[in-house]
């Protein structure tokens, strides 16, 4: 799942809860689902290494190669 999708899902959960037409059990289930998703999001964020790669087309498939940005002026 992507960051954006998690956020969308959380938005849906939040607005569904906000409508308030749920039973308590449904509400708690939904909230727990949201909690799991937010944990997942934060974990994903922490796992991100922030790499930069150079793509090359190898027989129709994209390959990732190391890439160094010349960061000197």
């Amino acid at each position: 799942m992507k960051f954006e999708e998690i956020l969308d899902e959380l938005e849906t959960i939040s607005s569904t809860l906000e409508r308030g037409d749920l039973s308590l059990e449904e509400g708690i289930d939904l909230y727990n689902k949201g909690l799991d998703l937010s944990k997942q999001a934060v974990t994903m964020l922490r796992e991100g290494k922030g790499k930069i790669t150079l793509l090359s087309d190898e027989l129709g498939k994209l390959a990732e190669n190391a890439f160094e940005v010349d960061d000197n002026d």
Binding site: E4, E11, S14, M44, R46, G48, I52, L54, F67, D70
Partner: protein
């Protein structure tokens, strides 16, 4: 040579016929620069200048063809015409065509119109650029300032998103094909694609003004940001893209985000969810409370009803018991007094005495014989006696 003297009309008429007869001059194309362009009603007039020559041009119904402006380099097609009335030579232009950069701009405008009519720039087709992308693809030249600017700008705020560079030539013949290919290959693989190029001349930016690139961008399902040239450059790729960034750095600002921002968004949504859940909880609680209240009230009522019935019953019972008891009491009293009447002690009290023999009461003289030992019981004691004589009553 004419022998006679000519009138002005004759002279001009003759000159006019010469121009009409000269096939070499009919329908010629002339290159020059526009000067003194002036429209008057449906017609326009200007001077076409060469480096060291000039000719007046008439452009009748000028809107039929490309309308030039002063300074434009143009090709005009037409024929020279000698006007008898004024004796002036001019060039009647039937069509105007821009040349050089002018021509390119015209062609670009036409292409833009065509693609717009097809809906390639339709806002309804555009998708929004994700606010928090994780995988960003940059299609640009791997060398040069553009990728470095994008990299630095993103890393200034974000250390975690991944940047994937697809190297293409961004100018020159064939560059448009490389860019379009790169778009097709990377589409669907990343959260967002940036097509970027630094500033350059109109010709340098040409690949981004091609139908090939515009269509490739339009066909992408992944959101595409076009970041070509400087603020003032507008390319077809900008128009076809889901978002236009004025510069590559601006594109990096669009995709780069602080991770804290994302976490804040998550937390804010979850705190809203928590508030809503609490509300549901309170609502449920209130519903339960009001339910139990009415239930208790009902119970109280029920209890009250039974209670009063019970009270009535018990009162009746108590009354009945009392009545019964009182009856019993009087009955008992009566009995007791009766019993009291039967008590032999009573007789003794009255002065009577009782006789017993061997512990048995003597009820008749026949129970006795002479010399029997008898006991006489009185109210204040006993007498032991012996029978001396027995007399029967007749």
């Amino acid at each position: 040579m004419f022998n006679k003297t000519l009138s002005v009309e004759e002279l001009n008429g003759y000159i006019h016929s010469i121009f009409l007869a000269e096939e070499m001059l009919l329908g010629v194309t002339v290159f020059g620069e526009v000067s003194g362009f002036k429209a008057s009603g449906p017609h326009a007039y200007f001077t076409l200048k060469g480096a060291n020559a000039a000719i007046s041009c008439n452009l009748f119904q000028y809107k039929r063809t490309h309308v030039p402006k002063d300074g434009d380099s143009i090709l005009v097609k037409g024929s020279p015409d000698y006007y008898i009335k004024t004796g002036k030579l001019s060039f009647n232009v039937t069509s105007v065509q821009p040349v050089g950069i002018g021509q390119l701009h015209i062609e670009l405008e036409e292409l833009k119109k065509k693609l717009a009519a097809e809906g390639l720039f339709d806002p309804a087709h555009k998708v929004s650029v994700p606010r928090f992308p994780k995988e960003v693809c940059v299609i640009t030249s791997q060398t040069g300032a553009v990728i470095r600017d994008i990299y630095r700008t993103i890393r200034n705020v974000n250390q975690t998103l991944n940047i994937h560079v697809y190297n293409v030539r961004v100018q020159g013949i064939g560059a448009e094909k490389e860019i379009a290919d790169a778009l097709r290959k990377t589409d669907g693989m990343y959260d967002v694609i940036i097509v970027a190029r630094g500033g350059g001349s109109f010709e340098d930016l040409a690949p981004f003004n091609t139908e090939l690139v515009a269509r490739a961008i339009y066909d992408c399902e992944t959101p595409v940001i076009s970041a070509v040239g400087h603020e003032t450059d507008f390319t077809l790729s900008d128009l076809a893209a889901d978002a236009r960034a004025a510069t590559p750095t601006a594109a990096a600002h669009l995709v780069g985000y602080n991770e804290g921002e994302y976490i804040a968004s998550v937390f804010s949504l979850m705190s809203n969810a928590a508030i809503s859940l609490e509300k549901i909880l309170t609502d449920n609680q209130n519903r339960f409370l009001s339910w139990s209240k009415s239930f208790l009230a009902y119970g109280d009522k029920l209890l009250e009803k039974y209670h009063s019935r019970f009270r009535l019953k018990t009162a009746a019972f108590i009354n009945a018991s009392k009545f019964f008891l009182s009856k019993k009491e009087s009955f008992l009293d009566k009995r007791l007094s009766l019993y009291a009447g039967c008590n032999p002690i009573g007789y003794l009290q009255k002065g009577y005495m009782g006789i017993s023999k061997n512990g048995r009461r003597v009820l008749s003289v026949g129970d006795l014989a002479i010399n029997d030992d008898i006991t006489i019981r009185a109210k204040d004691g006993e007498v032991l006696a012996v029978v001396k004589e027995i007399k029967y009553e007749v």
